[in-house]
Symmetry: C2
Subunit: 313 residues, 2 copies
């Protein structure tokens, strides 16, 4: 069984918070590593409540320089300094991110007791891998908002195909090191014969893919980010009746988010960034489920598990 990747929404409100909605932030956890997408005011409190405020946080991805996605960053950096973090932290975001942090008293990377690496993408970036480890990579593609804004696509590394023990034994292979060699794609000798993994080891299995698309109007960038994603997290600021307001402010309706999910062949959709004018986002989910049934409403501190789709070809 693949280890699920855990998605924890920390703030699901739109630009204006409500009594029970914080501002945009979402944590992704996999095998003890934590990534953060956006960092609205209050994110450090929500990370604390989720048990995720610690040195396992390794990178923060900022979509754009609007306050509701950004203003939690100085406090988070500063608190991690006070908590004596020593592990490096990577910050990824638009041009201007570093200048902003340097202008905030106590949040300048130079004054923090741990290394902060800031990587800024240019507004005209088309498709860039902005973060990469042996286990996953994160790509950035442009969205359609009022200021330069990137969505992110988290792609786990592929895993080896399924190992058919019966087929391996039938080919005369003995359990042990030879099994491992075959599982890694190598050939083994059985007496005078050479046995290849073909027919024993299935096709390589893709890792989980999660797309994070906010703030944005429906756009090709979102479609590409969401292509066959296991989970698409998408801007759903408004409902059908506010479709003109959505267009004017470069946001999406819940139904538009669902259409992107359907067109992109995503498996599941998680709606977020709800305008304060919708006290209950259930109505938004109902609209979204018409074009795309597998839609849920993001709830703060309620974790969603993502497992990659098994290859069906």
């Amino acid at each position: 069984m693949p280890i699920p990747t855990e998605i924890t929404p920390l703030g699901v409100g739109g630009a204006v918070p409500t009594r029970d909605r914080h501002l945009s932030a979402l944590a992704l956890r996999r095998e003890g590593r934590v990534l953060l997408f956006d960092c609205g005011e209050g994110t450090q409190f929500q990370l604390l409540r989720a048990g995720l405020l610690g040195s396992r946080l390794e990178a923060v991805f900022i979509t754009h320089l609007h306050g509701d996605h950004l203003f939690g960053l100085p406090g988070l950096l500063s608190t991690m300094g006070l908590l004596e973090r020593s592990r490096p932290l990577t910050l990824i975001g638009p041009k201007g991110l570093e200048a902003y942090l340097c202008s905030v008293p106590g949040a300048s990377p130079e004054g923090l007791p741990y290394p902060v690496h800031i990587r800024e993408w240019a507004a005209d970036t088309v498709d860039a891998t902005v973060y990469e480890t042996e286990a996953f990579r994160v790509r950035a593609l442009p969205l359609d908002h009022r200021v330069p804004c990137m969505g992110y696509r988290y792609e786990e590394a592929s895993r080896p195909g399924r190992f058919n023990v019966g087929a391996a034994r039938a080919a005369g292979v003995t359990p042990g090191p030879d099994f491992e060699t075959l599982a890694r794609g190598g050939r083994v000798r059985v007496g005078s014969r050479e046995v290849s993994p073909e027919g024993i080891v299935g096709p390589e299995r893709r890792g989980a893919v999660v797309a994070y698309c906010l703030d944005t109007a429906p756009c090709n960038g979102a479609r590409r980010l969401a292509h066959r994603a296991d989970l698409l997290i998408h801007d759903a600021t408004f409902g059908d009746e506010d479709i003109e307001r959505a267009a004017a402010t470069h946001h999406s309706t819940a139904r538009q988010a669902a259409e992107i999910a359907r067109e992109a062949g995503a498996r599941r959709l998680l709606l977020t960034h709800f305008s304060a004018r919708y006290p209950d986002p259930a109505a938004l989910a109902a609209e979204a489920r018409q074009p795309f049934e597998a839609t849920d409403v993001a709830e703060e501190l309620v974790t969603v598990r993502v497992t990659p789709q098994e290859a069906t070809a």
Copy 2:
């Protein structure tokens, strides 16, 4: 009966928040007017929960430019803009406050849809009235912290003395306009005699005084701010066992705060700014009550009412 002034702590944590402690902020409400002292991250959420996020907020007093007292300001300003505030707002704080706000995307006063007046005090200010209305004034005096830091003293205007109806009637004065003239300190004619307010109107009664002293080591500025205050709100970051840490970081222990209250002749003390190392500040209150019995622990969103002491001379 005088109308009580209401004090609502919004964040009682020290520099590092805990699961149930936000960062420094405190609201003062009197007759529909709201003042805010400090504005740590999350203050807009707490104002919302307290029902105080609105245009009645007329001034914000920042003690110093440390993030835990400051990082909520950009989000608060920005949210009030999105809520279509039109009423002017006054911000008072140390030199550097305006440059900070101007460097934050979306929080620059020029870009907000309502007027923002920023008044910066110089680091060498000794005692200044930094805000004044017909109903109250706010003075600033220097505290002892690692960076320039001012405490604030809220002083309500004096009220006229008590009116002795019996004495007025005995002097032959008829209820009505003449009563009002006397109450305001004027003289009236009764036949051929002139009647003065002496003996009819008691001594002028002072308004409520609230002192706000954080962050600070015990110092003369705090003593002066707290002089005969009806309520002293004081830095109580540490307990007795951390007195050296308090000195090193220019903070106070709860007991030191209580000694200031006693020396200044304050009526009541409210402890706040608790270090995360004290999960339960009740122990701090117990230490403080030894020198000063009338000590309470500030609790978030629990309002304390302040009425001025009647003159006893």
